[in-house]
């Protein structure tokens, strides 16, 4: 049984079908990269996994349990699945530390004193110890995104979703954020990434899925997808993306 399984996931916005029957297995500790042109359904799929968007059809299984049953309490699922966004979405009225402590305090009902040492340890682990008391405005884009990752990790999730987390960053700041992902991979975190960083996907992913028009056109280990894509659409996309 895979850690996370998608079975025929369908998502529509009005008449537009954004995810058109997606099947995907993510094994424990695997890093899966979703690639494809903008509008291909990568981000929406991630939002569906986190139950931010209700799905029309299909099922999402976490540890074998169908979490996409309509009416199921989404909070419990979301607290097990962390998500990081392209635009960081840090809470601007809180310091970095408060950002990361909010969810453990509110969702798990822990006290400040209980949470603080754990969260501080996370900041230290990702080289942000001296940034904890800063407000988001006072941080660089790369630092903000790393704080956003720490904020999600503070909930000790089983799975992490990353939605094009380097797309809004200056090129020289991308590396520090990707390093965090490598660190998480080394620690055995189960991760799904929507990404435009092809080189990173090629080197770090366990599995790469090419999405187009809401379907997974092709999937496989990066060596296959990048070096010997079977489908013409994949080849066409990669030719443009790797140029």
């Amino acid at each position: 049984m895979a850690k996370l399984e998608l079975r025929g996931v369908v998502k529509r916005f009005g008449d537009v079908t954004v995810c058109d029957g997606i099947d995907l297995d993510v094994e424990e500790g695997q890093m899966v990269c979703l690639i494809g042109a903008s509008g291909g359904g990568k981000s929406t799929l991630l939002r569906c996994i986190n139950l931010l968007e209700p799905i029309e059809d299909g099922a999402i299984l976490l540890d074998g349990e169908d979490v996409s049953v309509p009416g199921l309490d989404p909070q419990r699922v979301r607290s097990r699945i962390g998500m990081v966004f392209q635009s960081f979405n840090l809470f601007p009225h809180m310091t970095a530390l408060e950002n990361a402590m909010l969810a453990p305090r509110r969702v798990k009902g822990k006290s400040r004193e209980e949470v603080r040492p754990e969260v501080e340890a996370l900041f230290t682990r990702f080289g942000l110890a001296d940034r904890m008391d800063k407000y988001p405005d006072q941080l660089s884009g790369g630092q903000q995104q790393r704080v956003a990752i720490v904020r999600a990790l503070a909930m000790k999730p089983d799975v992490m979703l990353f939605d094009e987390i380097t797309s809004a960053l200056d090129p020289q700041l991308v590396g520090e954020v990707l390093d965090v992902l490598l660190q998480l991979k080394a620690e055995g975190m189960t991760m799904v990434l929507a990404t435009h960083e092809m080189e990173f996907a090629r080197q770090a992913a366990d599995k790469v899925c090419f999405l187009k028009d809401g379907k997974i056109i092709e999937e496989g280990p990066p060596s296959e997808i990048f070096n010997a894509p079977k489908r013409a659409e994949t080849r066409a996309f990669l030719e443009r993306a790797l140029k």
């Binding site: 909070q75 607290s79 966004f85 969810a103 969702v107 999600a152």
Partner: protein, 277 residues
């Protein structure tokens, strides 16, 4: 280059200094001209002496000013208990209008009806209807006091406006903030309380300051149903002394309070604009 160094200023700085000097000269000249025109021309009007006697009578002003200040304390008092009530009720109405839970649907309807009704009726009418209507039920003392029902009228009307401002503040918080908070496992309620409201309220502080200033002035409308606040007191003096100067005195007292408050609201708005840039 050497010339620039000698002056210690860049070409741009010299240009801007010249521009500033020019603007200052024009502003000063036009102000002097306008003030002079008023000072010279107004006293030449045929009725000026009469107006001066009945509106700008120094002796009357000195005589009535302390009593007017005393009466103004009532305005301050009514303001002091109405403003917090308005803030709380306004926020509750705003939240009620945005509620999604079906169980709270009646609250949503109520919130919408409330803002529609109290924004649609002139304040003075609400003051009359509530201020005369409810004590007319024959309630025992102190529940027939115009202070209570007059204040209630102000609270209801202003809450409707304040609620709409809060709502625009809530809308101004980007929905991605909500997504991020939900993705962490927070409930809708926690998201509103911990993430959306703190930002929303901060965004509308300047706009709400303007509501406070307007409220301070509208407290005077209660004079129509009884309380002898500053406007009513000025009216009493007008009748006693057959002179309008007490009204001017009352206006001065209002300005002493509202001008600093207006300046402060402007300052807050300017600061917010700067922060957003």
């Amino acid at each position: 280059m050497t010339e620039q160094k000698a002056a210690g200023l860049t070409r741009r700085q010299r240009y801007e200094a010249a521009q500033r000097k020019r603007a200052a000269i024009i502003a000063t000249t036009s102000t002097v001209l306008v003030v002079a025109a008023i000072v010279i021309l107004v006293p030449m009007t045929p009725g000026w002496e009469k107006v001066q006697r009945s509106f700008f009578n120094g002796a009357t002003l000195v005589q009535t000013f302390p009593k007017l200040l005393d009466a103004f304390k009532i305005n301050v008092m009514i303001f002091a208990w109405s403003a917090p009530a308005i803030a709380i009720l306004g926020l509750l109405i705003a939240l009620a209008r945005d509620t999604k839970s079906p169980a709270l649907f009646p609250l949503r309807i109520f919130g919408t009806a409330f803002t529609d009704i109290f924004r649609g009726i002139p304040v003075i009418l609400t003051v009359y209807l509530i201020g005369f209507g409810i004590p007319g039920l024959g309630l025992p003392c102190p529940w027939n006091s115009p202070y209570i029902w007059g204040s209630l009228a102000l609270i209801l009307t202003y809450s409707a406006y304040v609620a709409e401002i809060f709502r625009s503040g809530i809308d101004s918080v980007h929905h991605s903030q909500r997504s991020a908070a939900l993705s962490l496992g927070l409930t809708e309620r926690q998201v509103t309380r911990d993430v959306v409201l703190p930002q929303a309220i901060r965004n509308v502080v300047p706009a709400q300051m303007n509501m406070l200033i307007a409220l301070q002035k509208d407290v005077s409308l209660l004079s129509f149903i009884g309380p002898v606040e500053i406007f009513r007191q000025a009216g009493v003096f007008k009748s006693l002394l057959a002179n309008f100067t007490p009204y001017v005195g009352a206006a001065i007292i209002f300005l002493i309070v509202t001008i600093p408050a207006t300046r402060y609201a402007d300052y807050l708005m300017a600061r917010q604009r700067q922060e957003r840039r």
